[in-house]
């Protein structure tokens, strides 16, 4: 009931806002043009770049030359080998694992960020979460190499404590790559979840508790469902963000764990076979669209949980 009331409130607000904004937009057409023109030019540049990649993907590779040859579908035919299918599937699997693990680790942090009342504690949580955004992906990845290596921090501690006799292999494994990717995507997930959680009226949880629900039940039946739009947005963003990861799988994976971007680099650019690199890009883009559409379809029932 509480949820339904919240839903009614939130449904009315956007309409009111839309009406409120409609009028100034019509009257301020020159400003609209000022803002839309640069965006349209950027979009045009992206379209031209995409068109260039598309045309490269259907051109033949000439060994020893930078100029591509005539039209061909051979690049796409070459992608049919099981090796490439496996890398594409591995990529999707790593993206899912990363998005899921980031959600599990990020949700409590986002919850703490929103609900901690002490401003100092809130600042500490916020700084801890946001700081990785200011470091480059390569710097963060090298830090993880130091932590995950055979002589790294984790193995050294476990060996000294006598927990293990031989170092555990974290580097060049899917586990190592996912751990480092979770760190990369964590700030985005936490910020998106915190935004969703901060919009939930705390009175709903209090109302549930006053009606006899314990804190866990109140969280599971009120807060968690109401934060579902944020969860879906966070998971989708983390998935798409991870799909284009390059430096982390390249350095932590050490050529043993490959994602689509690594394949583009290895087989396309490092070999100067730009047409094949372009066909990999096109296939990767198509896969992203398919997976994100599937994700959206799968998330539809969950989206309804929030409003109801």
């Amino acid at each position: 009931m509480v949820c339904r009331k919240y839903h009614e409130l939130t449904r009315k607000r956007p309409r009111a806002r839309a009406r409120g904004h409609h009028s100034p937009v019509v009257t301020n057409q020159p400003y609209l043009r000022t803002f839309v023109t640069p965006a349209a030019l950027c979009a045009l540049a992206f379209i031209v770049a995409m068109a260039a990649i598309l045309q490269y993907s259907v051109r033949a590779y000439i060994p020893g030359s930078l100029e591509p040859g005539g039209l061909t579908l051979a690049n796409f035919a070459a992608l049919m080998k099981p090796l490439y299918a496996r890398v594409f599937l591995d990529t999707v699997w790593i993206c899912f694992l990363t998005a899921f693990c980031t959600l599990i680790v990020g949700y409590p942090i986002a919850y703490a960020l929103v609900h901690v009342s002490n401003p100092t504690a809130k600042s500490i949580v916020l700084i801890t979460v946001v700081t990785p955004l200011f470091l480059g992906e390569v710097v963060r990845t090298y830090s993880w190499i130091i932590v995950l290596g055979n002589n790294g921090f984790i193995n050294s501690v476990l060996l000294k404590l006598g927990v293990i006799e031989h170092p555990i292999q974290f580097m060049f494994t899917t586990f190592g790559v996912v751990v480092a990717l979770v760190h990369v995507t964590m700030p985005v997930m936490v910020i998106m979840l915190a935004a969703a959680l901060s919009h939930i009226d705390r009175d709903y949880q209090k109302a549930a508790e006053s009606l006899g629900a314990g804190p866990v039940r109140a969280f599971l039946t009120v807060t968690l469902p109401l934060s579902m739009p944020g969860i879906i947005a966070g998971v989708t963003t983390a998935f798409a963000w991870t799909f284009s990861a390059f430096a982390t799988p390249q350095l932590i994976g050490g050529g043993r764990v490959n994602m689509v971007s690594n394949l583009v680099y290895q087989l396309g650019f490092a070999s100067f076979n730009f047409p094949f690199a372009a066909s990999l890009c096109v296939a990767g883009l198509a896969l992203t669209l398919v997976v994100l559409s599937a994700l959206r379809l799968a998330a539809r029932p969950l989206e309804k949980i929030g409003p109801h």
């Binding site: 020893g64 002589n151 390249q250 043993r256 290895q266 087989l267 100067f272």
Partner: protein, 337 residues
């Protein structure tokens, strides 16, 4: 106030004039740029009074940029590896060199005369570098020793260029670079020994320094750099020789300062400059008349005689440019995955 304005306009007009009067050199960043700045560029500026400006980037970035600015190049001089230089040359991006304008080039080693368009600037080898402290009792006298079962899960090689190990496998199987297929089975047998594939020099250094991969097919210069940093690496020279690598220099086609470019290349081949390059980078001079310190001259991968150059495994740069994609693809499909 009037004087101030005059000074301002004089400066404003003067700057572009000075900017035009400079030689632009395209090279990799980091220590490579510093190497050229501290040696060749310094001498060139002393001789001509013309400052040198650098534009830096990765091999592929610079190749792409050069292609996009064909006939109106951003740089006057380009440094790149010998086989990539052939891609520039095949696309008409390099000026055909007039060796009469580079008197010091007469001392170049034969192997450094890559093409009519690009010449070797210095050389190195890809060889076996290992941590003797982590691999007790293991010797590397031949490339065959990499196939030692005791090295299971301990080896790393570059992921960006498998040509070295592909050609070595071919030679050990009775083939050569042109008939590399002969070494395919041999190389597949090495698969269990590979632990990782490094993506750049820094990655290679990090994997050796941490002992993550205690043996590598490694660039000699990188190994010496790490030894200088205190990492206990042994550089082995297999009896078959190291795989020769030559970095090259060329004048960009369309450069309006080609004459200065010739002077720059001539300064590069000055024996003292070449000796300084060998000292700083522990690489081999491209000329045979450089006087090296005995400690530098005795290093594996530093050649002072024509016979030493010829003893190395030399993959024809043009063939390598044509085969790179095929080799890289085969390696990814059969060895890395």
């Amino acid at each position: 106030m009037k004087r101030l304005l005059i000074a301002f306009f004089a400066l404003a007009l003067g700057f572009p004039a000075q900017a035009q009067h400079k030689l632009v050199v395209s090279i990799w960043g980091g220590s490579w740029r510093d190497l050229v700045a501290e040696t060749v560029a310094k001498k060139f500026t002393q001789e001509t009074g013309v400052p040198v400006e650098f534009i830096t980037g990765g091999t592929i970035d610079r190749l792409n940029k050069a292609k996009l600015t064909k006939d109106n190049p951003e740089s006057d001089i380009t440094f790149t590896t010998s086989h990539v230089g052939w891609l520039y040359a095949n696309d008409g991006l390099f000026e055909k060199l007039d060796l009469a304008k580079i008197p010091n080039a007469k001392n170049l080693a034969d192997e450094a005369r890559i093409s009519p368009y690009h010449l070797g600037s210095w050389a190195y080898i890809y060889t076996i570098g290992y941590r003797a402290d982590l691999l007790k009792g293991v010797k590397f006298e031949s490339w065959n020793d990499l196939w030692n079962p005791a090295l299971k899960g301990k080896l790393a090689a570059p992921d960006f260029d498998p040509s070295h190990i592909i050609v070595v496998s071919a030679i050990l199987s009775g083939g050569d670079a042109a008939h590399w297929e002969k070494g395919q089975d041999k190389l597949k047998a090495l698969k269990p020994n590979f632990k990782a594939f490094y993506t750049n020099d820094a990655n290679s250094q990090q994997l050796l320094a941490t002992g993550e991969t205690p043996v590598q097919v490694v660039l000699s210069m990188n190994a010496y750099y790490m030894i200088g940093q205190g990492v206990p690496i042994t550089v082995a020279i297999p009896k078959e020789g190291g795989v020769l690598g030559v970095d090259t220099v060329a004048i960009m086609k369309g450069s309006k300062k080609a004459e200065l470019g010739y002077k720059f290349i001539n300064a590069l081949y000055d024996p003292a400059v070449q000796a300084e390059i060998a000292k700083l980078k522990k690489g081999s001079p491209a000329v045979l008349n450089a006087k090296l310190h005995p400690e530098i001259a005795k290093l594996p991968g530093v050649f002072t005689t024509a016979a030493q150059w010829k003893k190395q495994i030399n993959i024809d740069a043009k063939l390598r440019a044509e085969k790179t994609a095929e080799w890289r693809k085969w390696f990814a499909e059969n060895i890395m995955n």
